[in-house]
Symmetry: C2
Subunit: 332 residues, 2 copies
């Protein structure tokens, strides 16, 4: 297998310490490659970067008509949230409105991603619950789909469950190709994840951004989800996170979402472009540097947006005494 190019590197002093290879692609809704580097046909697990695609089931299974989901709930369905108060409270309410509770979540519990939230839990001597799981909003959305479909909610995370079949079908519809059993794994939150080329993920995001190539229902659902995510950037990630800061800076222009193990996906909505990238080694900081460089190049940032992106395209490395000793930087 050919090596992808180095798209980010870590410098210490005057020497490169680490190299991060990867591939990226920017596409339009008709499937034209606007720019790319590396192997855009190598299938990669999108992980959490495609939660908005998975959340289309809330529309195509008519959960949105049944529960009249708020924009906050839709944003949380697309989120990898940081377990801060607004995340936990909103997900609890999301579940409560459907007659469900944290006990119905099958994502498992983990410590909040946000350090302050983690500290507050510890000081109250409380264990985290499944509400703190960064995926709890997505899971609440999947429970909504189960109820709307009239199927048992139990085991909704399993690959053979009607909800996951619906999720798979929605994703296949958006990317315009099939997901196959020989490229399947289990995500951190226990649902299936399917590998597909970044070319397909980027194309799917361009289609979601424009509605082009989608039926009217899916196009409207995609628009509603992108609107919700970009209206509530803090609900989609959390304090200080790239996704939140980028969407705060770009308003409705950019929908940006990271996924575990160095995946970044999104859409530059006013330009009708989708993008996807994967850092080959799974390094998150490097993948954030890469996507920041990509948006600097293709999203026509204004001064404020540029400042946010540059903070991720070059990230200082500190030593124990907090002196700057190097940086992680994109070399797109």
């Amino acid at each position: 297998m050919d090596a992808n190019p180095v798209l980010a590197e870590a410098v210490r002093g005057n020497w490169v310490e680490n190299r991060h290879r990867g591939a990226f692609v920017v596409m339009d809704a008709e499937g034209r490659v606007i720019a790319s580097a590396g192997d855009i046909e190598r299938p990669v697990f999108p992980r959490s970067a495609i939660k908005s695609m998975q959340a289309l089931t809330i529309f195509d299974r008519h959960a949105v008509e049944r529960f009249h989901h708020s924009t906050e709930e839709l944003a949380l369905a697309c989120a990898s949230h940081h377990g801060e108060d607004d995340h936990v409270t909103n997900v609890a309410n999301f579940l409560g409105r459907m007659g469900l509770s944290v006990a119905d979540l099958e994502c498992g519990a983990h410590q909040p991603t946000n350090g302050v939230a983690r500290e507050e839990l510890r000081e109250r001597h409380e264990e985290p619950t499944a509400l703190h799981n960064n995926c709890s909003g997505k899971h609440a959305g999947m429970l909504s789909v189960a109820l709307a479909m009239g199927v048992p909610t139990r085991d909704y995370v399993k690959r053979e469950h009607e909800v996951q079949r619906a999720v798979r079908a929605a994703v296949e519809l958006v990317i315009g190709e099939g997901l196959t059993e020989d490229r399947c794994g289990t995500d951190g939150c226990s649902i299936p994840t399917w590998a597909a080329p970044i070319r397909a993920w980027a194309h799917g995001f361009a289609r979601m951004a424009t509605g082009q190539g989608l039926d009217a229902g899916h196009a409207a659902g995609a628009r509603a989800l992108f609107d919700a995510a970009t209206k509530h950037p803090h609900l989609v990630a959390g304090t200080g996170h790239l996704d939140t800061l980028v969407m705060e800076a770009f308003g409705s222009r950019v929908m940006q979402k990271g996924g575990a193990e160095g995946v970044q996906c999104g859409a530059i909505r006013d330009k009708g472009l989708g993008y996807a990238l994967k850092c080959d080694d799974g390094n998150m900081a490097a993948s954030q540097a890469m996507v920041a460089a990509l948006l600097l190049k293709f999203a026509d940032p204004d001064e404020k947006q540029r400042a946010v992106l540059e903070g991720f395209a070059r990230q200082p490395t500190l030593n124990v005494r907090k002196a700057v000793v190097g940086e992680v930087r994109a070399v797109l």
Copy 2:
């Protein structure tokens, strides 16, 4: 720059999620390459993997005669310890015996690497001190060198300080080549780190293991340091860490030491071999899988040693609910 080969990968379900490239080399003391992969001439920062080389100054600057350092102190001078009780107590005593204290350490404070030690500090509402810094033993050794040299201890971490000049000279002597200003950075603990090819690091470890190519004083110092490290494996790293488990299993046969950002170095002493490897992207788990595979191949492990190594050569990946969903594995 040519890409190094993939030496480890992360699999999720039935698909490879991440790829970790790198280079490794196994050498004898005469400088013959026994085995290698990738570019062994690309200079890499060795970080903490060469603490035993740096500690040779304790011998060549006669600190050992002045302070009659115990094997525990010598092991700690070679250590990246985990801030557990035995580490902290021993480093405090090490400093105290020289009339110094934690206030003389210039490494900075960080939370203990060991989770239980971290939890105990928190429960006592105590902040970590420089004693908990994984490098505090190395720094105690450097302070010993400063005292033996009769120079001020203050600023002993700075590149131009006599101690760091002595450290640089000792490392250059062992690897048989110069370290250059154009490949220098600052380590996490504030001392300088110099990049050199893994070929040079591996050769240096083979020379330390055999004494070949070294004067009698440095040969004796190297033997004493390797004996100390392999006699006190827990002091060199900590509970559950690869370096500790490998040295516990191999006794005096293998001296193994990891360094930050995916560096692994060591010596198979009874075979007179040194080795070094660097994971290009700095991933520690991947570098541990790589070095475990290297030792499986070149260190003639018995059944018990093999079991320890296999636990690192293939490391299960768990999801939030603790189900095994993949693995990180060496592909050397």
